[in-house]
Amino acid sequence: MMLSLFKWMGELEFSKALGASVWQFALVQAVHLVFLAVFAGAVLIVDLRLMGRALTDRPVSQVARDAQPWLIGGFIGLLLTGVPQMMQNAMREYYSIFFWIKMGFMALALIFTFTLRRQVTLAATGGTGVTFQTKVVGLVSILLWAMVAIPARLIGLFS
C-alpha cells in the first residue's frame, strides 16, 4: 500500500517536472534549509527557556507565545519545500531507512510539541518557572527535533 503510494507520487507530472530541472530542485533544497533554521530557532528559544538557559526574566508562556508564529510558519515552509522533494525522489525515499527514521521522529516530535510541551509552556508557574519537569521537556524537545534533522541530512548521502 505504502509502496503503491510512493510509486504514484513519483509518477506524477509535478514530480517529473521538478526533477527535470536541476536548478529548480536545488533551489527548493536550499530554501528548505533556510526554513529549517527559522524553525530550529523558534524551537530552541523556547527549549532553552524551559531549561532555564536563556531569557529567564520572561515567563515561559510569553516566550512560547512569541515564538509560536515562527514555529508554525517555519514548519509550513519546511512542508512546502520538503514534500515536493519527497515526491520527486519518491522511490529513493521509500527505500531509505533514514527517511523512515526521520518520519518516525517527526511524528513523535509533532505529538510531543503540540501536547506535552505546549501544556508545560503555557502553564502558569511562579518565579522563573524552571523545574525538573520543564528541563526534561526542553531537552526531550531538542533531542526529538535533532533526530528529525540528522537522518534528513543522511538520506541524500546514503542512498
Binding site: V22, A30, A37, G41, I45, D66, W70, I150, R153, L157
Partner: protein, 167 residues
C-alpha cells in the same frame, strides 16, 4: 593572490589526514551532519534576534536581554559550524576551490560579520533608549533585515556547493 590561495588548497589536498577523511565512507557524512546541527543552532538563534530587531518576533522580551542571553548559544552554534566547516574544506579542498557557491558563501559570511560589527558599534550603542520598544530605530531594522538576507544566502549557497555548476 589567487595563485597563492590555490597553492594552499592544493597543498592541503595532499595531506595524509585530508586524504584519509576524504576516502572514508562515514566520516565526511558525519561531519556534514554536525555542520547542519551547528548551523541550526547558530542561524536559528541569530534569526530570532533579527526578528526582534525588526519588531516582528519575540517582542515581549527586551533587545538587550535577547542579545545577552542568546549570544553564548549563538557562539556555541557558530563554533560547531565553523570547526566542522573548516574540516569539510580540509578534507576536500580541491572540490571547494573551483566552486563558485563556496566563494559566495565565504564572502557573505564576511559581510554578515561586518554587519554584526556595524550594529554593535552603531545602533546598539543607544539600545537603552529603545530596549523594550517594538519599533526599533532604522539602523537596527536595517541591520536585522540585512542579517536575515545574508545568513539565508550563506545557508543557500552552502547547500548549492553540492552542485558543480559554473566550473
Amino acid at each position: 593572490m589567487l595563485m597563492l590561495i590555490k597553492s594552499v588548497f592544493e597543498w592541503v589536498n595532499e595531506f595524509p589526514s585530508s586524504i584519509a577523511i576524504r576516502e572514508s565512507i562515514y566520516v565526511y557524512p558525519a561531519i556534514l551532519t554536525v555542520h547542519i546541527v551547528g548551523m541550526c543552532v547558530f542561524a536559528g538563534l541569530v534569526i530570532m534576534m533579527d526578528l526582534r530587531l525588526l519588531g516582528i518576533g519575540n517582542n515581549s522580551t527586551s533587545i538587550s536581554q535577547i542579545q545577552r542571553r542568546l549570544f553564548p548559544w549563538q557562539m556555541v552554534g557558530m563554533s560547531i559550524s565553523a570547526i566542522s566547516g573548516l574540516v569539510l574544506v580540509y578534507t576536500q579542498p580541491m572540490r571547494f576551490y573551483p566552486n563558485v557557491f563556496f566563494w559566495i558563501k565565504t564572502v557573505m559570511m564576511l559581510v554578515a560579520g561586518a554587519n554584526v560589527l556595524a550594529f554593535h558599534y552603531g545602533a546598539y550603542r543607544t539600545v537603552a533608549d529603545w530596549d523594550t520598544k517594538v519599533k526599533t530605530p532604522l539602523g537596527a531594522r536595517v541591520s536585522g533585515i540585512v542579517s536575515i538576507v545574508l545568513w539565508a544566502l550563506v545557508i543557500m549557497s552552502g547547500r548549492l556547493i553540492a552542485y558543480n555548476w559554473f566550473q
